[in-house]
């Protein structure tokens, strides 16, 4: 397709420019704006009205001169050259190298927007990933091919948790027969966080397995809209064409959504809640739904997303819409963090939707489903008793309530608060049973007598 070049624009507004008097331009077309004495900028056609072509410039419009702008339309949508040689490299949101090494040249290229996976081609994710963290492995099991966000608040140790997962998680078979890569999409990250992740990858020896797409807080917001798409286009290539197990880490989706709002306001779209555009659900879905496993491919895309809840508000549109798309969520809890519990995972609010098919006999262990149900139920009751005790005092509780309350305390103290230690699934299950042994058998309505006989340790053998 021939390139078309136009000199001069009719409007410049925020990140948008409008080019008139040009025909044959495609919706979504990729373009480059050449400027005098400045590096060129890249853009995309957002809408076409008769002769007016509305364009989003990823690096903004500051210091552009209306009559000097030379827009070069490429006659195609934005594409990313993909190759296995990307592994170990660092790029910006446009796919340009930031590590001083040469560009990627490849015969393979992909449209960055991707296409939806046919539901009949999906393989339902079933293989659990051992993260070494009890509250995740036992209570909210992560499954290969799952998309799971971490709902966090400012100042909570979400990055530390992701670090621990990267360090401990067994995503591939341990015999090394399977290929593994991490694709990291940094969206509006502060320099500190960025350095943390780089150090993490270096420390864990995964640096040579990481592909980083980096958009820092100081980079353009418009460009941020591309970061996850670049990351996922690369991940899809590696997983579905090259059979890699890919762990995609996106951080932080809140920054992405804010960029989306910024651009939608510039486009004068009708806002819905809190000024976010009505299409935010669809837009987020076009990112999250790219995780998964498909037929005729050995690979998988597992997605872990950092999401900072504005003001710790889980009903805010960003966590709310995310929760409706992702397969569960891990919620970090401020009060637990303040009590020094790490990882401060809010067990009751967290959820893994794919857990039910990935645990139990043939997967983890046959007692796992019942055990986790029982821990959930008893812990929930224990927490009720704690709020009761806050009113009437611990001593006023009846015997049963006291037992449940001390169970909840113990649960948080030893099960949740595991620190940076790696626990195997077996160890976590054992710990769960030791906790249950503190309860009278009448409380154990979710575990069958058979399971109790097989797995409950006598008081002497108890780990606690």
């Amino acid at each position: 397709m021939a390139r078309i070049t136009v000199k001069g624009v009719s409007e410049i507004k925020g990140p948008l420019i409008v080019v008139e008097g040009v025909s044959g331009i495609q919706m979504g077309e990729y373009l480059v704006v050449n400027l005098e004495n400045q590096p060129s900028r890249k853009g995309r056609v957002l809408a076409i009205e008769e002769e007016k072509v509305i364009i989003l410039l990823y690096q903004g419009t500051y210091e552009t001169e209306r009559d000097e702008i030379e827009t070069e339309f490429y006659g195609r949508t934005m594409q990313l050259f993909v190759s296995e040689t990307m592994i170990g490299r660092i790029f910006n949101s446009l796919g340009e190298p930031l590590d001083g090494l040469p560009n990627i040249y490849s015969d393979d290229y992909r449209d960055v927007n991707g296409t939806p996976i046919n539901p009949t081609s999906r393989i339902y994710p079933k293989n659990y990933i051992e993260t070494g963290i009890s509250t995740i492995d036992i209570m909210n099991t992560l499954v290969r091919g799952q998309k799971l966000p971490i709902f966090t608040g400012a100042g909570l140790p979400n990055n530390q948790l992701i670090g621990q997962i990267v360090r401990q998680a067994k995503i591939t078979e341990q015999d090394g027969s399977e290929k593994f890569a991490i694709v990291f999409g940094a969206m509006g990250l502060t320099m500190d966080d960025y350095i943390y992740f780089q150090r993490l990858f270096k420390e864990t020896g995964t640096l040579n397995k990481v592909i980083m797409f980096s958009n820092l807080a100081s980079d353009s917001a418009a460009e941020r809209l591309l970061t996850p798409r670049m990351a996922l286009t690369t991940a899809e290539y590696l997983a579905f064409d090259k059979d890699y197990h890919v762990l995609v880490i996106l951080s932080d989706i809140t920054n992405y959504c804010q960029a989306l709002r910024e651009i939608s306001v510039a486009l004068e779209t009708v806002p819905s809640r809190k000024g976010f555009p009505g299409y935010m659900y669809s837009d987020l879905a076009s990112i999250y739904e790219r995780a998964g496993i498909v037929e005729d491919s050995e690979g998988s895309i597992t997605m872990i997303v950092n999401l900072t809840m504005p003001n710790d508000d889980i009903t805010h549109p960003i966590p709310d819409l995310t929760g409706y798309i992702t397969e569960g969520q891990i919620i970090l809890d401020r009060s637990m963090h303040n009590r020094g519990i790490y990882p401060p995972i809010d067990v009751l609010g967290s959820l893994s939707r794919l857990m039910k098919d990935g645990i139990g006999e043939g997967f983890t262990r046959k007692d796992h489903p019942s055990l986790s149900d029982q821990l959930y139920a008893s812990y929930a009751e224990g927490l009720d008793k704690r709020s009761l005790a806050e009113v009437i005092g611990r001593k006023e509780l009846n015997r049963r309530d006291q037992v449940l309350l001390s169970f909840a305390d113990k649960f948080e103290e030893v099960f949740v608060n595991q620190g940076n230690e790696h626990k195997t699934i077996e160890q976590s299950l054992e710990l769960g049973w030791s906790l249950l042994s503190q309860l009278p058998e009448t409380e154990l309505t979710k575990v069958s007598e058979d399971l109790i006989k097989t797995f409950m340790k006598s008081k002497e053998e108890n780990m606690l």
Binding site: P116, I117, P119, S121, R122, S272, E289, Q329
Partner: protein, 600 residues
């Protein structure tokens, strides 16, 4: 630019998921047009002078100004005939399996055109023996039948608008959906061939003879629904709940276990993996009512969240039209839509692109009207044509309120049009109490109808049991407020007993595991007897308490454990075991009584 192209129908603007075009040969609202050289599928949704706005069911990337528009002269229609069952379609009825065969990839590419029904497959057609040459055929008359799956014999009916004399009808044999099986002569003397399939525009409700009041319950096998908040065949229900409250699992449960003849499951803007779960799971499951594979009665419509938003808008209409087609054959159809909020959001998105004036939270003013239109297509009817047929459509629709707030526009508007409301409660869901239907905010508008049905069906105790359990839960709720202040120790024994019984009801009766092989589906008889046993225990215990028996003795009875676990421990095929439980409760109570000298 060539002159001819300037004159032909062409695109003048492109924005979001809509294009505007001019120079169309005709401007008909709702007409399906092909857009661009790739022939993307679109529908005319607004006309302003010579400009038509077309909503396109596929991504618009790559379209240009002046690209051609091809009219079809047809509205968005469903193909209705053999081949729908056990199939999975997208929102505009393209079979996803066929798309996979065409693309040879795991992804849905653009511009794929395919028929909904397989044109090559031969179906074994049996003509209606009562039909004779020269007889008048009207819309809805039975022409014959095709045994489509193990569960469903599809009735081949004359399309609703037909009227004429039967000239010929084919013999029993193998036919494709487009081969003529009968010819009729219409009043204007023109001949019309009838085929196994016909088409119907999805945005128009199919006609019927008469609406009828609803009569009997839809048995779902879910205790809190069947016993507390039942729905009738032909009834409507909304399931609102924030994320993680178990909407989708409940929708799956309804589609799996309900005693409907045909189930249409619309995955409207939801997760891809959930549709895959249904696709993989349903063929392995058995319909507990007919013992046939579940898939044999199921039709899936999948327009997952990252598929084009315009097709999501269409998927709801596609689903209900297919439901009406089976209703007209005399079946009871259950339509589950997950989730109508995503559909409403699609409306909002398209409305925004049309620059319509938004009302609440950006939703268009016609949101309520569209919802009403949809829910009114449910109900119990007498179908057109002979033989006499009654059919029903149930709509159970999930609503995903933003931030879990039930006052938002979609939930609030839905509440106006549905009679049953199963409000999901995040506090219940957080403690893994599923189904997380809150028994205080939920309601059913069909209690009276079902009470009547229960009387005729030998379930005369249903109303009483339900009321008694409710009263206990209600009292428990009041007592919990006191307990929160002073603890349960301070309550009198009879009130502590209420707490114990309420706990049994919540754990042993209302909680139901969707993933437990026994508990997933609970037959009506078992449901009734479970209530009976709980009440038996309550009444006995009450007498003991009145005679001075301390609550701690009752708390530690084995009966309590048995009652909490009978849902899983008593197999559905062997309800005799429930007799033993009854005996056990009696004996344990008597033992307690005699040991401590209390009279039972």
């Amino acid at each position: 630019m060539s002159k001819t192209l300037e004159e032909g129908a062409r695109i003048v603007s492109i924005k979001g998921s809509t294009v505007q075009a001019k120079n169309l040969s005709s401007y008909r609202m709702g007409e399906i047009t092909f857009v661009g050289e790739e022939r993307l599928i679109g529908e005319i949704i607004a006309i302003e002078r010579e400009i038509a706005t077309i909503q396109v069911y596929e991504p618009l990337e790559g379209l240009r100004i002046n690209d051609p528009i091809y009219p079809t002269g047809k509205s968005l229609s469903a193909e209705l005939g053999p081949g729908l069952l056990a199939n999975i379609f997208d929102g505009i009825q393209r079979p996803l399996e066929t798309i996979k065969d065409i693309t040879k990839s795991a992804f849905i590419e653009r511009g794929i055109q395919t028929n909904a029904l397989d044109r090559n497959k031969k179906w074994s057609f049996v003509p209606n023996p009562d039909l004779k040459q020269g007889e008048i055929i009207r819309g809805g008359d039975q022409i014959g039948s095709v045994k489509e799956t193990e569960s469903i014999e599809t009735m081949i009916i004359a399309p609703p608008y037909i009227h004429g004399h039967l000239l010929e009808i084919q013999d029993k044999g193998e036919y494709t959906v487009t081969e003529p099986i009968a010819v009729i002569k219409k009043q204007d003397n023109r001949k019309e061939e009838l085929k196994l399939m016909h088409e119907w525009p999805v945005r128009i409700a199919r006609p019927f003879l008469r609406k009828m009041p609803v009569q009997e319950p839809l048995i779902t096998g879910q205790r809190i629904i069947d016993m507390f908040f039942p729905i009738t065949k032909g009834g409507t229900a909304a399931i609102p709940g924030g994320f993680g409250t178990g909407k989708t699992v409940l929708m799956h449960q309804l589609s799996k276990w309900s005693n409907a003849d045909v189930v249409i499951y619309i995955g409207c803007g939801e997760r891809g993996n959930e549709m895959t779960d249904v696709l993989i799971g349903f063929p392995k499951l058995m319909d507990p009512h007919t013992k046939n594979p579940l898939m044999a009665r199921t039709i899936l419509i999948a327009n997952v969240s990252n598929m084009p938003v315009a097709a999501r808008e269409a998927s709801i209409y596609m689903g209900i039209t297919i439901a009406e087609y089976f209703r007209d054959q005399g079946f009871n159809v259950l339509l589950t839509a997950d989730s109508t909020s995503r559909w409403a959001e699609a409306l909002r998105e398209i409305s925004g692109q049309l620059e319509e004036m938004p009302v609440e939270e950006g939703y268009p003013a016609y949101l309520g009207a569209r919802l009403a239109n949809f829910y009114e297509r449910a109900g119990r009817i007498i179908a057109l044509g002979s033989p006499y047929r009654e059919g029903t459509i149930n709509i159970t629709a999930a609503v995903s309120p933003a931030g879990g707030d039930f006052s938002e526009p979609v939930t609030a508007n839905t509440k106006r049009f549905v009679k049953t409301f199963w409000g999901l409660d995040p506090t219940l869901a957080n403690r893994k109490h599923f189904p997380s239907i809150n028994w205080f905010t939920s309601y059913s508008g069909y209690i009276e109808v079902i009470e009547e049905w229960a009387l005729e069906s030998g379930l005369e105790d249903w109303g009483r049991y339900r009321q008694e359990l409710f009263t206990i839960l209600q009292k428990d709720n009041e007592l919990q407020h006191i307990v929160e202040l002073i603890g349960s120790k301070a309550l009198p024994a009879d009130e502590q007993l209420i707490l114990l019984i309420a706990d049994i009801i919540k754990t042993g009766f209302l909680q139901q595991s969707a993933f437990h092989p026994v508990d997933s589906f609970c037959p009506i008889e078992k449901q009734m007897r479970m209530m009976k046993h709980i009440l038996l225990f309550y009444n006995r215990a009450n007498i003991l308490i009145k005679n001075g028996c301390p609550i701690s003795l009752l708390n530690s009875l084995k009966s309590v454990q048995i009652l909490k676990r009978m849902k899983e421990d008593v197999p559905n095929e062997n309800l005799m075991q429930l007799n033993k439980i009854e005996d056990y409760i009696h004996s344990e109570m008597e033992e307690l009584g005699s040991k401590y000298g209390y009279r039972v």
